[in-house]
């Protein structure tokens, strides 16, 4: 049986049909994104996929319509330009944890603060996969990677809380094992006329999973399910009890004005029609 995702997939790209390792979660998120787009009935010619550089950055290169594969850490800047130039477009940005939180941290903060009407999906697999598995700002304390063979000595970033603090209109976190919930969140994110951030805790069995003895892709996903805690349940738990857990659910959904709408309304008011 042909995979239903292939209908929307550029099949002439290197490593056809794709370059992700067996068991990787990125392909899952790719298809969840397409499902969300289809369930919303969007015109595919008006949906632009944007990515940075790295395993997750490659997602956009397989989208069969308009795509912009940009520089490591910078996709949100490019995505902002696209949205401001043509607000009719739906702009979806896939990013890895390294580029979202390290090199692109300021872009994340500023884009969330401005509330640019974008859907930013961060695939958080706790390491830089494309370069062979080095620690990133989301690697858990003690996590073993190629640049932290004795265990990471840096406390990890909670990106959802960061984006929430920046004022983003929508924030959600799921793991790759929450198929239906992710699709629903991406749908809400696309419809939200503000900056919408969806984090997907995902497996990198080749590097992070193997080095930390977390098993293959399926085993890692079972681990995600076991360690997921809903937002509501997490509220009654101590920081200590929450260590190593993934707080999942729709974390933020608030009414804020989108940046592109603000600028275009201003331009319409001040335009002399020249």
């Amino acid at each position: 049986m042909r995979h239903p995702a292939l209908e929307y997939f550029r099949l002439d790209r290197p490593g056809s049909p794709n370059l992700w390792c067996p068991g990787c979660g990125i392909g899952q998120v790719w298809y969840y994104t397409v499902q969300a787009i289809n369930e919303l009935g969007l015109d595919h010619d008006k949906v632009v996929w944007v990515g940075g550089s790295g395993c997750s950055g490659r997602m956009c290169t397989y989208w069969y319509k308009d795509s912009m594969h940009t520089l490591h850490g910078r996709p949100l800047g490019f995505a902002t330009g696209i949205k401001l130039a043509n607000p009719e477009l739906t702009v979806i940005c896939h990013m890895g944890d390294g580029e979202t939180s390290a090199i692109g941290g300021n872009h994340l903060i500023q884009t969330a603060r401005r509330n640019v009407e974008l859907t930013a999906i961060c695939i958080n697999n706790f390491n830089y996969g494309m370069t062979g598995g080095q620690y990133s700002p989301t690697t858990p304390l003690g996590g073993i990677t190629m640049t932290s063979v004795e265990g990471s000595m840096e406390p990890p970033f909670d990106l959802c809380r960061l984006v929430e603090a920046c004022g983003a209109g929508y924030v959600a976190r799921w793991t790759s094992a929450h198929h239906r919930q992710i699709v629903n969140s991406i749908k809400e994110a696309i419809q939200k006329q503000a900056f919408a951030y969806v984090e997907v805790v995902s497996q990198c069995p080749t590097y992070f999973g193997r080095r930390n003895r977390l098993g293959d892709g399926a085993e890692m996903m079972r681990g995600f399910l076991k360690n997921s805690v809903t937002k509501e349940r997490a509220q009654g738990m101590t920081e200590e009890a929450l260590r190593g857990k993934y707080v999942i659910g729709k974390l933020v959904d608030r009414n804020v004005k989108g940046y592109s709408a603000t600028l275009h309304e201003f331009a319409a008011r001040h335009s002399s029609g020249v």
């Binding site: 290169t61 795509s67 912009m68 800047g77 600028l263 020249v274």
Partner: protein, 361 residues
């Protein structure tokens, strides 16, 4: 705005900030969008994204800012995204002197990002040319799908002079060529054979445009093949360099019988012009050459000039940059000397006159 700029994004930096300030007040009035970027990387990323979505877009910066933009400049060159970058050059290196002049970024705008690509750079010598050349920069950028620079001096950036703005119908505005085939026949990076420039649809046009700065084949698919790489890099280079005679503009005076030509660009050209006129009144056979286009370098025109004179004196506000290009282009046909002044103020006419006397002219 006259050229059709629909979006500006820039980060405050002296001495380029005035461009942001004015556009923040004026651009919305013509239906455009102004954004103050979070930094130079953000600013140029927004500009490139906007250009791919169909808006003509520009940024302005200086000094450290142009250093920070280098990664995105390479991205724009590789993805062939039209954009205009104004570099109001300040004295450097490093933070240097934010409010003083120097022509230090000649090579940086040309070779600053990794590997081989081509760009266009124009050097205005007056506020009038800041206007005229910005329109031209947009046109060239659209026509050749390359980042195009206004390589201005701080001195011209802070100069107040009368500027004549022609009526809109007299301003020649060029737009990028859109595909003339239906989407199913469209090959994203196949260039027309006579121009080396592919047609460019915008996001949302239905052409499934795959933008990426990977080395890619004509269909936009990433490739590590040597053949694909060679074809791509050669085309990115040739589409500008092979058109150098068409693109590159210079201004000359008194060359017919000149023994010495004084070559300059930007604000120093104003002093050179005065010094050459004064010398001519004293009967000295000296000519005047001003580069309006720095990149692509006008090799052929410089060679012709070199063949007609004994010496070319290059006056520039740096330790000697364009002089190397002149030496290369002259191919030994004339002696090439440098009148260097590493910034703050431009050469005075007296300094140029003394240098001419030093050459025995």
């Amino acid at each position: 705005m006259a050229a059709g700029c629909g979006l500006f994004a820039g980060y405050p930096i002296s001495p380029a900030t005035e461009i942001s300030e004015v556009l923040s007040r004026r651009l919305f009035g013509v239906g455009g969008i102004f954004v103050q970027g979070a930094d130079e990387l953000d600013s140029l990323a927004i500009v490139i994204g906007a250009s791919c979505a169909g808006k003509k877009a520009m940024t302005a910066t200086s000094g450290n800012g142009i250093s920070l933009m280098q990664e995105n400049i390479g991205y724009a060159a590789m993805t062939e995204t039209p954009c205009v970058i104004v570099d109001v050059q300040r004295a450097g290196p490093g933070t240097g002197i934010a409010t003083k002049s120097m022509q230090g970024d000649i090579y940086q705008v040309r070779y600053g990002s990794n590997s081989d690509y081509s760009i266009i750079a124009l050097a205005p010598d007056s506020p009038q040319e800041m206007f005229d050349l910005t329109v031209e920069a947009f046109n060239l950028s659209e026509q050749y799908r390359v980042p195009t620079f206004i390589l201005a001096d701080e001195l011209v950036g802070h100069m107040m002079e009368k500027v004549e703005i022609p009526p809109a119908e007299k301003i020649h505005v060029l737009n990028r060529k859109k595909p003339d085939v239906p989407p199913d026949k469209f090959v994203p990076f196949r260039a027309a054979s006579d121009t080396d420039v592919p047609a460019m649809p915008s996001f949302g046009d239905g052409y499934a445009l795959p933008i990426s700065s990977f080395a890619r084949n004509e269909s936009g698919s990433p490739s590590t093949s040597m053949q694909v790489q060679h074809q791509l890099v050669t085309r990115l280079w040739n589409k500008v360099e092979k058109k150098a005679d068409e693109i590159a503009r210079i201004e000359t005076e008194y060359l017919e019988d000149a023994d010495v030509a004084v070559l300059s660009y930007g604000v120093p050209a104003r002093s050179v012009h005065r010094a050459v006129q004064d010398a001519r009144r004293e009967g000295v056979k000296v000519g005047y050459v001003r580069l309006i286009t720095i990149w692509p370098f006008p090799d052929r025109k410089i060679k012709e000039i070199a063949e007609g004179v004994k010496t070319i004196l290059v006056a520039e506000m740096n330790m000697g940059k364009v002089v190397r290009e002149v030496q290369r282009a002259a191919e030994g046909a004339a002696k090439v000397s440098l009148l260097s002044k590493p910034g703050v103020e431009a050469h005075t006419p007296l300094e140029v006159a003394n240098a001419l006397k030093g050459l025995g002219a």
